[in-house]
């Protein structure tokens, strides 16, 4: 029971959760017969990726990545004294070295021993969640329209109806439906995505 391989596998339990969720979602999307279930499967699939990112950002023993105000003040004072707060464009590669150097130089600063979790993966996931919401809303809007046009959300049934109408690539005149009856529910979810994109 105490074999190192097993321990390692158990220590990476977050990945197991991610993999199980991912495969569940993927299976639902592939095996779906119902359009709503496909959307649910897609959501589970995406959620597993959110989890992958968020667990990636956790540092063992790390706290929330917010610098306590008193530490921030003390650091600002120290930084001001050494005059090391240049902000501008640097050539690639030098910035990271400089920051690392700056960090090393200020290792004696108050609060330098606080370990922060990595906030970046969570921030990325905020954007990805917004994208996920937009996708889900658009998908549901499309399902509503499909339901109105076909009267069903079962894919088999829809294909049957299509086949009854003729070959899948036939566009018969009588099927040309009045475009005015549809409102553009699908276009509205796009807006949040772009507003978040630059974040």
């Amino acid at each position: 029971m105490n074999s190192p391989a097993l321990e390692q596998a158990a220590g990476l339990y977050n990945y197991w959760i991610v993999i199980v969720l991912m495969m569940t979602g993927f299976y639902i999307v592939l095996a779906r017969r119902n359009l709503i279930k496909a959307v649910i499967g897609l959501n589970i699939f995406q959620t597993s990726v959110f989890l992958l990112y968020v667990t990636m950002g956790k540092v063992r023993g790390g706290t929330a990545p917010i610098i306590p105000p008193e530490v921030a003040e003390a650091q600002a004072k120290a930084m001001h004294e050494t005059g090391h707060s240049e902000h501008g464009t640097h050539a690639l590669g030098t910035v990271s070295e400089e920051i690392v150097g700056a960090h090393a130089a200020h290792a004696d600063l108050p609060g330098a021993d606080i370990i922060y979790s990595n906030p970046l993966p969570s921030v990325l996931m905020l954007t990805a969640i917004v994208v996920g919401i937009a996708t889900t809303a658009l998908a549901l809007a499309l399902v509503v329209r499909i339901r109105e046009d076909y009267g069903t959300i079962e894919e088999d049934r829809i294909l049957e109806i299509d086949r009854a109408d003729g070959l899948p690539d036939d566009d018969d005149e009588d099927q040309w439906i009045d475009a005015d009856t549809h409102s553009l529910a699908g276009s509205s979810p796009d807006t949040p995505t772009d507003s978040e994109s630059v974040n």
Partner: protein, 492 residues
């Protein structure tokens, strides 16, 4: 102001889209969209010129230096792709109003143009950004707006096609997201150049392998490489004509661009092609795809679907060029992106003209249209020649480059198969030509008028482009060659 050009390229269409919603009036929205798309085109031409003179342009979003901030990067490859994508976007909008009036409800026009601009934003953003996560975000902006655009088609199959595309496309995008996440885990950075410098490639740790596989498969879905192309025919067939023109000419090309970036900008070709047998796999997939899709195109009764299958085949040529990973092959792949965008854009515009006048895109309904719609029919013949790759057309340039690259590499069977596959293109182009010119016109066709000049002129501009760039290659093949050299040389 010139230093802000890379960001203006994205922000202008991004701002114009909500302005279209505020204007609410369809002519005003159209005018704004038209104006902004042409300004975008102008900016990308200026960027091409600037890159030619001064080299790579970098722009730090928010003043944050890379690797921490998002860096926008314009080099010879991205400026080239931006140029033709925004060019097609602008010219399709000139062509659009009549067709949009006919196929989309008037109350929704302003939303249509807003969504169109968002799609353009996403495509431009994918080209210009140097940040891997930003690529995902812009990919999703362009994809989501293209799902919405496709669902505007007239038949009830349009929402279904859009839904199927959405499901497959979202899975692809999520795969890309997983790949990005794993690369971030390995390197701790999202800047492409920074990842390239940090990612351990020599022995290929398992995480990098997995990340790379996810990225490649996700992008293959978006590019519609052969076995993952199933979303494409339905999406192109049931979308409104204007949307098909725009998306067919640009969306898959930009994904190909992202693919090139991943292979040559982040992971080295050595890792992808020598350590992993990706080149052989891609070559086989590309060739199988070319033959299967071309053969499928021959049997289509619906012209839009015929062209859609032809698009899958043409993607095969691009992948073939990229998988050679020689300067010649890469140049051929890149220049074929440009040429195919022109050719397929032009052909879909012709289809739009027929759809407007004949109310159908089925081949049977086009019988004898050569008599009543001579210019439109001639346009098909011209575009068809370019698609086959007849000399002095743009299609010839890319196929010639691809052929010579294949021979240089000693891939004789590939060269022979490519020539054979062109014969298949002859067959499906000829089927339509035969129907147009050598069939008895039906009563409906006899009543049809020639397509309006407002649509014919932009179409012919694009088709003339296929000839211009078939002879004068300074701004197509030469730029592509420079881009290929930049990719294969020291990566920035």
């Amino acid at each position: 102001m010139t230093e802000h050009l890379p960001i203006l390229l994205i922000v202008l269409p991004l701002v114009a889209a909500p302005l279209c919603v505020i204007l609410h009036q369809r002519t005003a929205a159209y005018t704004l969209a038209l104006l902004v798309s042409w300004i975008t085109f102008g900016i990308s031409i200026a960027l091409v010129a600037q890159v030619n003179q001064t080299g790579v342009i970098r722009y730090n979003l928010g003043g944050w230096a890379p690797p921490y901030g998002i860096e926008y990067l314009v080099d010879s490859l991205s400026s080239f792709v931006m140029m033709f994508v925004s060019g097609i976007g602008a010219i399709v909008l000139v062509y659009a109003p009549k067709s949009v009036d006919d196929e989309i409800a008037r109350s929704k026009h302003y939303l249509f143009y807003a969504t169109y601009l968002l799609c353009l934003t996403g495509l431009m953003g994918m080209c210009v950004t140097g940040d891997l996560f930003n690529v995902f975000v812009f990919l999703e902006i362009s994809s989501l707006s293209s799902y919405a655009l496709i669902s505007l088609g007239q038949t009830r199959r349009a929402p279904l096609a859009a839904f199927q595309y959405l499901i497959i496309g979202s899975i692809g995008a999520t795969f890309i997201l997983i790949g990005i996440g794993l690369l971030y885990q390995m390197t701790g950075t999202l800047n492409m150049a920074d990842i390239a410098a940090r990612v351990p490639q020599e022995n290929g740790p398992r995480t990098v392998l997995v990340a790379f596989s996810f990225l490649v498969i996700g992008l293959c879905v978006k590019m519609a490489v052969f076995p993952l192309h199933t979303w494409l025919p339905n999406a192109y067939t049931y979308a409104p004509s204007v949307v098909t023109c725009f998306i067919a000419a640009t969306a898959t090309k930009v994904s190909v661009y992202a693919f090139i970036r991943v292979i040559f900008g982040i992971i080295t070709p050595g890792f992808a092609f020598d350590y992993l047998p990706l080149d052989t796999e891609l070559t086989i997939l590309a060739l199988v795809g070319i033959f299967v899709a071309s053969t499928a195109a021959i049997y289509q009764a619906n012209v839009k679907r015929l062209l859609a299958y032809s698009s899958v085949a043409q993607i095969g040529y691009m992948i073939l060029g990229i998988s050679m990973s020689t300067p010649g092959g890469l140049t051929a792949g890149i220049v074929h992106m440009f040429n195919h965008a022109l050719i397929k854009g032009g052909l879909f515009m012709i289809v739009g003209c027929f759809a407007l006048r004949l109310g159908s895109v089925k081949l049977d309904d086009w019988k004898g249209a050569g008599k009543t719609m001579p210019w439109t029919s001639l346009g098909w013949a011209i575009g068809g020649l370019a698609l086959i790759g007849v000399p002095v057309t743009a299609g010839f340039i890319s196929k010639w480059l691809l052929l010579t690259a294949a021979m240089e590499k000693g891939m004789w069977p590939v060269a022979v198969l490519m020539l054979l596959s062109s014969l298949l293109a002859v067959v499906y182009v000829w089927r339509v030509v035969e129907t147009l010119y050598f069939s008895e016109p039906t009563a409906k066709v006899l009543k049809a008028k020639e397509a309006p000049l407002g649509m014919l002129i932009p179409t012919y501009v694009v088709l003339a482009g296929t000839f211009v760039f078939g002879v004068w290659t300074t701004y197509s093949a030469d730029l592509a060659a420079a881009a290929a050299a930049g990719l294969l040389g020291a990566t920035p």
